[in-house]
Amino acid sequence: MATGVKADWDEKELRRDLFAFHRGDMDAFEALFRRHQRALYSWILRIVRNPATAEDLTIETFWRIHQAHARFDPARGFEGWARHIATHVALDWMRSRKTERERTAELADDFAAPALADAAVSAEIRQKTAAAFERLPPKLRIAAVLAVVEGQPHKVVAEALGISVAAVKVRVFRALRLLRKDLEQQGIRP
C-alpha cells in the first residue's frame, strides 16, 4: 500500500517537473537531468562505445533538451523524446568523427573484444570486422549497432532515429551487406 502511495507521489512529482520544465523552470530541468542522466548516458554509450565521449555527449544532449524546452510536449513523456535527441547527438558526433578517423585511422572502441569468443571466428577476423564496421556510413552503423549488437527491438530503434521500423530493417540489411563486401575485399569470407 505504502509503495503504491509513493509511486503515485513520484508520478505526480514527475508530471509537475515535466510541465515546469516546459515553462523553462531550471529546478525542474535539474530534477529531470538527475532522473534521466544515467539512462541517456547508457543509451549514448551503446552507440559511441567510449565512456568519456558518452559523458560529453550526455551533456550536449541535455543542453539541446534545455534549448528545446518550449517545444517539449509534457503529455507525450520525456524519455522517448530525450532518447531521440540523444540519438541524433550521437549521430552528429559519428558524422563529424568520420573525417577525423580518416585522418588518424584510429579505432577507439572500448567494447571491441568480446568476453567469450566463438572459436570458429578468429581474433583477426573479429578485429577486421570491427574495423570494417567503423567504416560504414554513420546512419547504417547506428541502426546496426543498436539492433544487431545491442539487441534493441526494431521499434525502439525506429523511435530513437525518428524513422519507420521498415526503414530500420533496410538500414540493418544494407549495413550487413556493406560489411560483408568490405570483408570480402580483404579476402575474408565469413
Binding site: 537531468f33 539512462a39 565512456p51 543542453w63 567494447f111 568480446p114 544487431v148 560489411l179
Partner: protein, 76 residues
C-alpha cells in the same frame, strides 16, 4: 533458409562476436551536473562564415540540379 539469408545470418553472428554489447547498466564516472551548468553558461558559438558558404553552395546546387537532391540527402 536460403543461401542469401544464411550469409546474412553468418555476418550478423560475426559482428556480434566482434563487438561486445555494452548493455544498459552503466553510469557516468563523475557527476555531470557541474559540467552541465558550465555548458549552459557558455556563450553559444557563432556559426563560422564557411558554414554559411557551404549552405549557400548546397542551396545553389539543389536549385540548379534538382536531380542531385536525393544524392545530397543520402550523404547527409
Amino acid at each position: 533458409m536460403n543461401a542469401h539469408e544464411q550469409e546474412e545470418d553468418r555476418i550478423r553472428q560475426v559482428l556480434q562476436q566482434s563487438l561486445r554489447p555494452v548493455g544498459a547498466e552503466h553510469e557516468p564516472n563523475r557527476d555531470l551536473w557541474p559540467a552541465m551548468l558550465r555548458r549552459l553558461d557558455a556563450k553559444p558559438a557563432s556559426t563560422p562564415w564557411f558554414d554559411w558558404a557551404l549552405l549557400a553552395g548546397l542551396v545553389a546546387v539543389a536549385a540548379l540540379f534538382p536531380s542531385a537532391i536525393p544524392v545530397l540527402l543520402y550523404y547527409l
